[in-house]
């Protein structure tokens, strides 16, 4: 298990996927959270809020974002990694696809596709928890809406803080920026729902 983990780390280091994985993770987690925020706020302001609808729409959106993220990243990364291998082959005057580099490129493609596919699914499913609780009668729908929005804002703040940590900026300010973007998007969704 430990050997497999070490091997995986080695492949990811050789393929240099750390920064691209971080980018995919933040971008797609943000997408997932914002999409669900829009669904919840839009449905709430239009007065048609219902746990079943939110859960159905939310899970549908999560699966669609996950599938799109996985396939999009897989195809993009595969093309990009093949280009790197070809460049290496040219520099080495030898085929390196059967070496550690070839294996690292394959692992990196799957890894980035998984990060790209799973991150929006995760951030889209977490805000569904209060609606599941409402559907079994644990909390009211109004509470479910506010808990879900709070969860989304917390996730977005954490994503911002994570970016702040990477860029050695203030984590609080970076997290705050994410909250501002989310509040603006929520206000627009609310106004659109009112029309």
């Amino acid at each position: 298990m430990l050997t497999a983990f070490r091997k995986l780390r080695g492949y990811l280091r050789i393929a240099g996927v750390a920064s691209i994985s971080r980018r995919y993770f933040v971008m797609n987690s943000f997408d997932g959270a914002m999409a669900i925020l829009g669904v919840i706020v839009g449905a709430y302001s239009s007065g048609t809020i219902n746990s079943k609808i939110i859960i159905g729409a939310g899970l549908g959106a999560a699966i669609a974002m996950g599938a799109s993220g996985f396939s999009g990243a897989y195809l993009t990364e595969r093309a990009e990694r093949r280009r790197i291998l070809l460049k290496m082959r040219k520099a080495m005057l030898a085929d390196v696809s059967n070496s550690i580099h070839g294996r690292a490129m394959k692992v990196a493609t799957i890894w980035t596709a998984m990060v790209d596919g799973l991150s929006p699914v995760l951030t889209a499913i977490i805000p569904m928890i209060p609606f599941f609780m409402n559907s079994v009668g644990l909390i009211s729908i109004d509470h479910a809406v506010w808990y879900a929005i709070s969860l989304i804002l917390c996730m977005l703040f954490l994503l911002g803080a994570f970016l702040g940590r990477i860029s050695k900026e203030s984590m609080l300010r970076s997290g705050g920026r994410m909250i501002i973007v989310a509040v603006v998007a929520a206000l627009i969704s609310w106004l659109v729902g009112k029309i």
């Binding site: 080695g10 290496m88 520099a91 080495m92 005057l93 030898a94 390196v96 070496s99 550690i100 580099h101």
Partner: protein
Amino acid sequence: MTGHDPQVKRLVLDVLKPHDPPIDELASKLASCHGVEDVNVTLAEIDQDTESVKISIDGDDIHIDTVRKCVEDLGASVHSVDEVRVVRKPHPK
């Protein structure tokens, strides 16, 4: 065989490798090859995408093919075998 098995005791290779994995990893991987006891890797030249290294390997019974496979598995390629020391060890009676 005529009662004596030639055994490779020293091998010096001129190798072209990508920047990754670094030379310490290359040396560690080679040190785990059959018969290898001592590995010394020296950076000879560095280029934009590649680097040339001189690898000196000492051991009891070095298998050249295994070493070559180890080198190639790391994405590197053996340009030339610059030095080999072979001893003929008599069979025990």
